[in-house]
């Protein structure tokens, strides 16, 4: 565990750059900023009280676990391998006992920590500016969903980064757009394999949604009716599968810095 501790602390320190901190602040400030802007919309305050919990739950779900968490981990987990290859430091880690394993796990945990702290800060500050009747319930649900989103998306982006280090960010964005947004909303079996489907299903169970939405038949395809425990298990299993796949592929690939010019 010395290796994991070392990688985590080292990567955490390395991520403390002005640019990264600024990005963290942008991520954390984004949800409260949008919340404040929404409150300034004319006639917003006339929204029926029974709809306020639903509105803020869905709005903050989109802003925090979907945008803030996903973008937060995208910048850390996506280029995890590419940064080592670009600065040619990969070989130093790869020639340590289980070095690749510890490096990837350490970077994964840093990505989760980085993303979830931004999301939690965003959730805590955004909820203050809402006029939802059940702010604590919404805040608690969003915080839990953010944690699960960070665990899952970090593993997904790490895998994409291992498969295609050179174009990791592009493929991560493409994956999010196509798989999580498009496939995740297709009312078929395929959407059950997405992170978004599980997160949405938990959202429906954990926040005080309007009963009309809960009982609407058309929504039953985009929300799962399984127990919360099963959805959490699915998310953890997806994260584990993506993480294991990333590690296996990293071990099988030949990440060498030798080019044709310096064979």
């Amino acid at each position: 565990m010395n290796a994991l501790r070392a990688v985590f602390l080292h990567e955490w320190k390395r991520s403390m750059t002005a640019g990264r901190i600024a990005w963290w602040l942008v991520m954390a400030a984004f949800p409260p900023a949008i919340t404040v802007l929404i409150r300034t919309i004319p006639n917003f305050e006339r929204m029926p009280t029974e709809d306020l919990n639903t509105f803020w739950s869905i709005m903050l779900y989109v802003l925090i676990p979907c945008v803030c968490s996903a973008l937060g981990v995208l910048l850390t987990a996506g280029p995890a391998v590419a940064t080592e290859l670009e600065q040619r430091s990969w070989v130093y880690m790869a020639t340590r006992p289980n070095g690749i394993f510890w490096l990837l796990i350490g970077k994964y945990l840093v990505a989760v920590t980085w993303g979830v702290t931004a999301a939690w800060a965003g959730a805590a500050s955004a909820i203050v500016f809402t006029n939802a009747p059940s702010p604590f319930q919404i805040w608690f649900a969003l915080s839990a969903l953010s944690l699960l989103a960070c665990f899952s998306y970090s593993a997904v982006f790490l895998l994409v980064g291992v498969i295609s280090p050179k174009r990791a960010m592009v493929f991560c964005v493409m994956y999010t757009g196509f798989v999580e947004i498009v496939l995740g909303l297709i009312p078929a079996l395929i959407n059950r394999l997405t992170v978004q489907f599980r997160l949405r299903s938990l959202l429906v169970q954990w926040v005080p949604l309007n009963e009309k939405i809960r009982k609407d038949a058309s929504f039953s395809y985009v929300f799962g009716e399984d127990s919360a425990a099963l959805h959490i298990l699915w998310l953890l299993a997806l994260a584990a599968v993506f993480l294991i796949a990333a590690i296996v592929i990293a071990y099988r690939k030949e990440f060498t810095t030798a080019t044709e010019g310096d064979l």
């Binding site: 600065q87 040619r88 430091s89 070989v91 130093y92 790869a94 020639t95 810095t257 064979l263």
Partner: protein, 317 residues
């Protein structure tokens, strides 16, 4: 000393797409110190990457200390690798970098720090180890790279151009560190394209070019090979035409001509007997008052050796 071969290559070929990295190498080396000599692009880095398990052979098998090096944590505990490029995190200090890699090796934070300090001092980094690596000179980076490779005291040290970028004092210091390392009975493989860099460290050499091991032997044997290779020598001296006639008359050169240059006449000789020629030139300088202003080989002697060996290998010589 262990009887397990240090390195075993059995019909090893490595292809990068259609580019040949190493070509059908079969080789077995007992523990010891070896110089891996070859020009740039010879396949040295590929060979080292195969040894450290970073590359998988396209064909054949590689064993290091009796084990397959690919993804082998047991072997990784026993080898130390100093790559030919830098690749260190520039924002952190040398001691932090070496300690970090030691922690990845499994040492505790405290022990890693102690070892990092000790081995950085050993490589002559006592003054600079607490500065960020971005402020280091090329030589300091080389020393830091070497420290990270030896800090866990591996059984086999694999070094890619460890002396490049070092000034003469630095070369001497690092050579001393490596010599004491070898004297302790540890094994070392040093890849380089400069023969004299490793002559002080080992007498065993492998000559590699075009992805093949072309020859092996001691430093003396390599020098013999060097002298047997037709060598072009350019001499600027006081009596160019007389010297050209004399070396041909005494069978010291296969061909000789006098070329006019902006700095005067120059004798251009092709010889297969450079050692005898050099001895005779010294005698003429001493006895006959021959004045030599400049004498140099037309191309790098090691490169011409490799070119000749490749031609011999292809049956062209």
């Amino acid at each position: 000393m262990s009887t397990t071969p240090m390195i075993q290559f059995e019909s090893v070929t490595k292809l990068y797409g259609r580019v040949l990295g190493v070509n059908d190498i079969t080789l077995e080396l007992p523990p010891g110190a070896y110089g891996l000599l070859g020009p740039n692009g010879a396949g040295k880095s590929t060979l080292l990457n195969l040894l450290t398990g970073q590359l998988l052979p396209t064909r054949g098998t590689v064993k290091v200390l009796g084990m397959n090096p690919r993804n082998n944590p047991i072997l990784m505990r026993r080898i130390g690798f100093c790559p030919g490029f830098e690749g260190m995190y520039s924002s952190i200090t040398g001691v932090d970098w070496v300690a970090y890699l030691l922690e990845m090796h499994g040492y505790s934070a405290v022990e890693s720090r102690q070892r990092a300090t000790r081995f950085l001092e050993m490589t002559g980094m006592h003054k600079g180890m607490h500065r960020p690596i971005s402020t280091y000179s090329r030589g300091m980076r080389q020393r830091t790279k070497l420290a990270q490779a030896i800090a866990h005291e591996p059984d086999l040290l694999i070094l890619d151009e460890p002396l490049s970028g070092l000034d003469p004092i630095g070369r001497s210091e690092i050579t001393n560190v490596l010599r004491s390392w070898i004297d302790k009975g540890r094994s070392v493989i040093i890849a380089t394209h400069v023969l004299h860099e490793v002559e002080a460290l080992t007498q065993s050499f492998l000559l590699i070019s075009g992805g093949r091991v072309l020859a092996s032997g001691t430093a003396t044997e390599v020098h013999e090979l060097l002298f047997k290779v037709p060598l072009e020598i350019q001499i600027r001296c006081s009596e160019s035409r007389q010297l050209a006639a004399r070396v041909l008359h005494d069978n010291l050169a296969d061909a000789a001509r006098v070329a006019s240059t902006s700095q005067g006449d120059m004798v251009v000789l092709t010889t297969q007997n450079a050692s005898q020629l050099s001895r005779q030139l010294a005698a003429w300088v001493r006895d006959d008052g021959l004045q030599i202003q400049e004498m140099r080989t037309a191309d790098d002697s090691l490169q011409s050796l490799f070119n000749s060996l490749m031609k011999i290998h292809r049956g062209e010589l």
